[in-house]
Amino acid sequence: MSVSQSALDYLWIEAVPLTKEVSEILGHKDNINEEIFYRIEKHGFNVGKGLAYLLMREQTQAIGSQLDVIKFVCKDLWQLLFHKQIDSLKTNHRDAYVLIDTNFTMCQRMSSNKGPEKTAEMAKPYLWLPAGIIRGFLHVMGIECRVDFDAFDLPLVEFSIFI
């Protein structure tokens, strides 16, 4: 079963102002940005966990190595989320991976008249969602990590995974 992409877009776009308002009501005025990032990332984490259980139910073959799990994120998870695959994957073959999406679906239509730097800054809260999704997915797969991102050249986005 499916719903429209727009329905989902409205949800995750509106989640940011909702989170901002709730954080203000709860009195997190001093560290409002951290609070928003933390909460949006947590939504991502929940969604990522759920998707992991869902995808693993359909997965018939075991996924072996750590690299295989990351590749699964790049292909299958990204396909489910954004109807495309990650464009390139870099790794130091130890504990760090960089996933590069050159035309990140969530950011294709993001723009502002404030220049690229400010636009990237404004895009930040929204990007904590996919970062959280990756972390939640890997958590279920037994990989504890930190996920960060760079978005200085939208719609190119780099997600960095540190295990």
């Binding site: 989902l8 949800l11 709860l26 969604v47 998707l51």
Partner: protein, 190 residues
């Protein structure tokens, strides 16, 4: 009228990018449960925030509806109600809820979701007792409809009056049309 009957399905089939229902409900579920935690299960506040979030979405979503459907102006509230269920719900959530319980003056009606037809609650479980009485889990929909109708000059009140999640036989969203807002005609134009 006939256009309203088919256009939602047409848009869904030909003009809509789709995502998995699970992804959508996971996201919504996370939002609801975070709000429950944040407001320490004060469900009045949770309902309010969900409604408000929906309202903000409705204000913007109507633009997409009009752009994708070219829907003509409705001539009666019955037509409006048809457009909400057959076009609005169909093109975004791929469902067509039922209409019923019309008031005598045709200004109030209910949007009815029989059990198993509300996609927002598809995977909802572990519902605590108080939530069963006080939380309107799908309250975002009340807000969306109010916001969207306001943008086409219909001021209305929307509220859930029963929910399958609360043990009711069906989920019912009541819509009361308060008034038709005047079109603001720019000066110098007829």
């Amino acid at each position: 009228m006939s256009k309203v009957r088919t256009i939602g399905a047409d848009v869904w089939k030909h003009k809509t990018d789709k995502v998995s229902l699970e992804l959508f409900t996971l996201m919504y579920g996370s939002i609801v449960s975070q709000l429950c935690d944040d407001f320490e299960h004060d469900y009045t506040k949770v309902n309010q925030q969900l409604d408000k979030m929906g309202y903000n979405i409705g204000l913007r979503l109507i633009e997409e509806v009009l752009a994708k459907t070219g829907l003509p102006r409705c001539h009666s509230f019955r037509e409006t109600a048809d457009a909400v269920t057959r076009v609005g719900f169909k093109m975004f959530l791929n469902i067509t809820p039922q209409l019923g319980n019309w008031s005598v003056d045709n200004k109030q009606f209910s949007i009815i979701f029989p059990p198993g037809t509300n996609p927002l609650v598809e995977f909802v479980e572990c519902y605590d007792e108080r939530a069963r009485r006080e939380l309107w889990y799908s309250n975002i929909l009340a807000g969306v409809i109010r916001g969207a109708l306001e943008m086409v000059q219909l001021s209305c009140e929307t509220e859930f009056v029963s929910d399958v999640l609360q043990g009711a036989a069906q989920t019912e969203l009541r819509v009361k049309i308060i008034k038709v807002l005047e079109d603001e005609v720019p000066q110098g134009e007829e």
